[in-house]
Point group: D2
Chain length 410, copies 4
């Protein structure tokens, strides 16, 4: 039943906030990140604005100010609270936001249970699916944003302080896997949900290439650091070199050395020794590209990645990933780290946006951003697929982002 | 008894936080303002660091990280958490900060009740007095900072939503009062507490001058606005004109018009119609100076203000000020608004700072700041006196700051 | 003879500086633009550093400091004078830079006339070709940069004050021209010179599309302005809308209204009435994309543009363009304005950079820049071709950049 | 004759520009500094705007655009060319500016030679005096600004490359000289010219104090550096410490070490070894205050400085200073370095500005600036006096600014 799926996804968001105090839920560590409370309210605003406002018989907003307060970037809906000031919204409090969620959930349930014309029900079903996928995207952001917030603290608090952190990974060798070239079909196919940016499915010519069977590990990335990677200009894109120098960077976000010189990493389980076999993560595209350059390889294009992923089972990562299957087959395509591609985020040929404010969902961001493929340890179950296109600016590091290498066939 | 005074001042801080949620207490609206929680913790840190650390027999900190987290600006104590990121300290939570306060209060009480050498007890008495005056300064800042935070909200929440707001003021005329010139004695005198910046008392020549019997009212300030004051370059200091233009200012902080065009003011009681007889407040030195220029007058020097204030009874303002005494005598010297002077904040001749980190309390700020005299509606009872020197940069507006005019005797 | 071509290109640079005073040649109007003097010196530095330094028998630099002063962005060569401070290089003066040019020219001539091993001569020929194409790129930049400089002046001086400005264009209709889809070959082919970023030639699948027969005119662009284009959020990319709003833009760079409200344009011939039939220019990618959106079309991809351009004769634009051929055939592909494409600047599959510092020429800029195709009125004769890839960030407006529309075949 | 004085001062400005190329005269190294050409034009604009415009019979401007281009900060005159873009004014060229100067000079001479009503002649005399003192102020700025410009060059060119640099100073001991306290008269007295900020003369109480007989030398300042002065927080004002840290400063402006580790100083004679006996210069108030703190002394107030200077002969410094008189008397009050005082720049009691735009000359800058007394090696002959008040913000270093210590009498 749709209502069961709705309730399950909605409850998962609240469960993610459970380990946190109301104070934790209100703070914003940087303009790119949002408070947990804001995520909980904005995802609710999405259902209220795009479904209830047009489909409810006698629509009255839960609170008139919320239309502005919890609008993220939809100019078509009207004014927006300034993004960098979301952490100042101490009112409404978490209790009011929880009531807001319960109120909207009840109204959605009522709408679903009621009578609707055929076209209306189809539209409702479509919008609910979109709203739930939207909420799942925010579930991942909620985790990356709260990790970034907690990392600002000198106390290095663990988000999950009762759970056992993942066991260290066993060493596995990485191999180059060859893929034939040719005219491939790229983009979503089938009846399942997809975002508009995955359409239309279309032909794209791909030359023969090789892809690494696994992600770059922390140990491999350390070798790059120790070889002076962060100090070697010719490995970097021009903008990347400026970025490294102006911020004086020398390692991934969340890495630090303890007083004895041992590398540690801040995780959702607190500060922990680095697991050298685990995939390196929290890397920018600049770092991924420089690493690939240093390793004599390159990043895959998104078409190459998708060609390779077609037919691979989606591995649910979450925060307790099962160890990958052994062997030299294609591993870690899903459930570990989003994988930077060299492809700028652009519309597929014939791409169309939805009419109205929902048309702002994806299309207007197709500039100066780069596509990431796969999924991460923080991606909710059921949200990933081979045609999924995630995207971030080249300097973003607070997402669970890593490196899968590619290379040209000689 | 000293311990009673200690407990009373300390409890007052907690009482000020009572109308607020934990979420309200954690947010920071701008780098100049601090979260309520931070004020509560920092004032406690002051007692722990400057008293317990050196006087307690077997000193152990309540939490080792607090030494850094709640240090405001004392380089002599060591590292400091970045000022602009105080709002990210969701840990420790308010419950831990309340426990911190209780712990330090108990240890101070034990220290006071115990045996101490004569010199040690004197030192303890002196440091406790300083710590309590310090806490009173933060009580006022707590109120100005929370007002600034709540003003960022589109909901315009009232800090005091159960209390009755002050009744409108009755109209009273303002007169010019003449003061003789001569060699005056400036600075603190007597046995009571004073900060080091009020010493030494010293002679200063003051020419004859006249002082306005009352503060500039909202109604008088409105006339300046309506006469185009914010658009008239020649009224402003050069830096003030740049400030007005770059921020596109046209009225005091917290003034706004409602949809019908009526002026309103955001207050600790929420958004309210302006009281035209009440003193205009939340003005920068730039605005105060331009107003004075427009009115054909000038701001007083701090010496002039102090000469006039010597012998005036200190009126307790707090947030429910009693109406000022009628007549043409000197009114509103205390308890309404801090009054900008034209004097830059500088050491008195022969000024000496305390040894060690406490020497950073005042002296190092004696540059590019201007002296304010009197006290405001938010100043705690017992904290004001004629020789008290408050100081802020010329552009500060979030304090309760207003204008008393002076003029030269022709 | 190669030396004749060398001398001709080199002299053309000096000729471009002739209408300017030494003062004009020294100033830098923004970090993205360089002084004319710097262009003259840097192009010379290129020959000295990449040819003479390695091939001259007893190499001694013309001036040891020039290696740093006139290095643009080659980290492999060493330190660089800060880009934003090129306008502070009043020393060396223009006379010294002219002597520098003469000195290097004589040494290049001597090298060419002397004996060289077979491999050495081939390398010299290749490097000279690269150096001359590099100089031609700077000839265009010299013109766009001096135009930007002169535009800062309240005097609106003409660069060419003795020359007759171009006559107004005759009206011509624009048609949609259809192109078949299929697997196209993209990239440079043949023996002529090309930059490394045009290689390797490779297959790319292109769906059927239509291309406008001519560029968007000033008159057409005015209609967009008058329809409120600069105030309509949904037409713009998210980053473009921020760009428009933060800079408060309402028309192309160099457009302004005179006191009577008539539109004028600052040109290299001074301030002139707009020619409504001429191609609109000095547009950012943001503006080009919003215009296309408003017009119900889109920008072409670089592959589409190249497919259409294959076989089109290169029209020499320069600053006195001959009128385009009449009819509905493909016009204005070259010689008018560089044409924004929707393609981000990225390496072709199998792209390889040159070894050493020359490898920095193109590859390291392949991020957050967008490809422009064609050539402009300021492109030197012989420099353009169908496979040429120009590139700039999306907000750049000071180049001669315009719009050719494309659309999907329904 | 007034005309002779006029011509002499005016010609001196041109003479100062003689060692420079037109290119040197056009560049602007930072917003605080102006191009030499701009100084030459602005000082001429001053005569044209404030004298010719109101007194010439049939006034017509030399060029209508110059009223805006060469207005520095007089809002009462109208619009101003943006300060930070003065270096982009390649037009008018130096030749036109020279013609502008000659034109205005001829018109001033005609006005002076003609008939004028009694009041008009008095007004003309007063305005000419002001204009010439204004020009002398810019003569000093011209030198400090061109020094700053040349210092940006990796070639370290000498402004005076034909002149012999000053010989090293002989060592002389510095003594503390005692001054009685009491009610002093401060401000200009007598018939000579003074600026409005030196008036009115007024009584000020000064406590007994001691003043150093000479300026702090380079050698003494080096001891402060070597004692870790730039790394010791408690020596600095809070704002000074932020300034040192954010700019990572470790020595005075223009000091640098050569490859062998020897200290050198960039001067108007080029890069030269430091003269350890010469006064340390190009110091900010922050550095002066920290040095004084370290030395167990303080900076004088401007009243103390003026009390000490009353009766001291004004030494003409220029750029070839004669060695100071030997002995322990008060030396180097004039002609070496401007001497920072601890006094913020504020109006004297009863200060009045001139009516109209000339009222903007001094008064509007009386905030967040600090007074310097004396004169420097770059001050023109006849321009200095005991009551002269120079002023700059605390962080300014590109003027010839140094340190004279004071201390309290115990």
């Amino acid at each position: 039943m749709l209502i069961d799926h709705y309730n399950k996804v909605r409850q998962h968001s609240l469960r993610l906030a459970e380990p946190l105090s109301d104070e934790d839920c209100g703070a914003q560590s940087m303009p790119d990140a949002s408070p947990v409370k804001w995520h909980l309210a904005h995802t609710t605003w999405f259902f209220e604005t795009f479904i209830l406002e047009s489909m409810e018989a006698a629509f009255a907003p839960f609170h008139p100010a919320f239309r502005v307060l919890f609008n993220s970037y939809y100019n078509g809906v009207g004014e927006k609270h300034p993004r960098a000031q979301r952490g100042l919204l101490t009112r409404p409090g978490m209790d009011v936001v929880r009531a807001y969620r319960a109120n909207v959930d009840a109204r959605i349930a009522r709408l679903l249970a009621g009578e609707l014309a055929r076209g209306e029900r189809e539209r409702l079903t479509m919008l609910l699916a979109l709203g739930l996928e939207h909420e799942q995207q925010h579930q991942e952001l909620l985790l990356t944003d709260v990790k970034h917030l907690l990392a600002q603290s000198a106390l290095f608090p663990a988000y999950l302080d009762n759970a056992a952190p993942p066991a260290p990974q066993a060493a596995q060798s990485t191999a180059w896997l060859a893929f034939d070239g040719g005219l491939a079909q790229i983009g979503h196919v089938g009846d399942g949900f997809c975002f508009d940016n995955e359409l239309p499915r279309h032909p794209q010519y791909v030359a023969p290439f090789e892809l690494a069977s696994a992600l770059v590990t922390n140990g491999e990335y350390l070798a790059f650091i120790e070889a002076g990677g962060y100090r070697t200009a010719h490995l970097w894109l021009a903008e990347g070199w400026d970025w490294v120098r102006s911020q004086q960077l020398a390692c991934p976000l969340y890495w630090q050395r303890d007083d004895a010189g041992h590398w540690q990493e801040f995780t959702l389980f607190g500060l922990r020794p680095l697991d050298w076999q685990a995939p390196a993560t929290h890397l920018s595209l600049f770092e991924a590209d420089a690493y690939a350059h240093w390793a004599g390889a390159r990043l895959p294009t998104e078409a190459e990645w998708e060609v390779a992923a077609q037919g691979v089972a989606v591995e649910v990562g979450q925060l307790h990933p099962a160890a990958g299957a052994p062997g030299t087959g294609l591993r870690q395509m899903f459930g570990r780290c989003w994988q930077w591609t060299s492809s700028s985020y652009a519309p597929y040929p014939g791409y169309r946006t939805a009419p109205g404010a929902l048309g702002e969902y994806n299309g207007k961001f197709m500039l100066n951003q780069y596509v990431l493929r796969g999924s991460s340890c923080a991606t909710p179950a059921g949200h990933a697929r081979a045609s999924y296109r995630n995207f971030f600016p080249a300097g973003a590091r607070w997402q669970f982002t890593g490196i899968r290498l590619a290379r040209q066939v000689e």
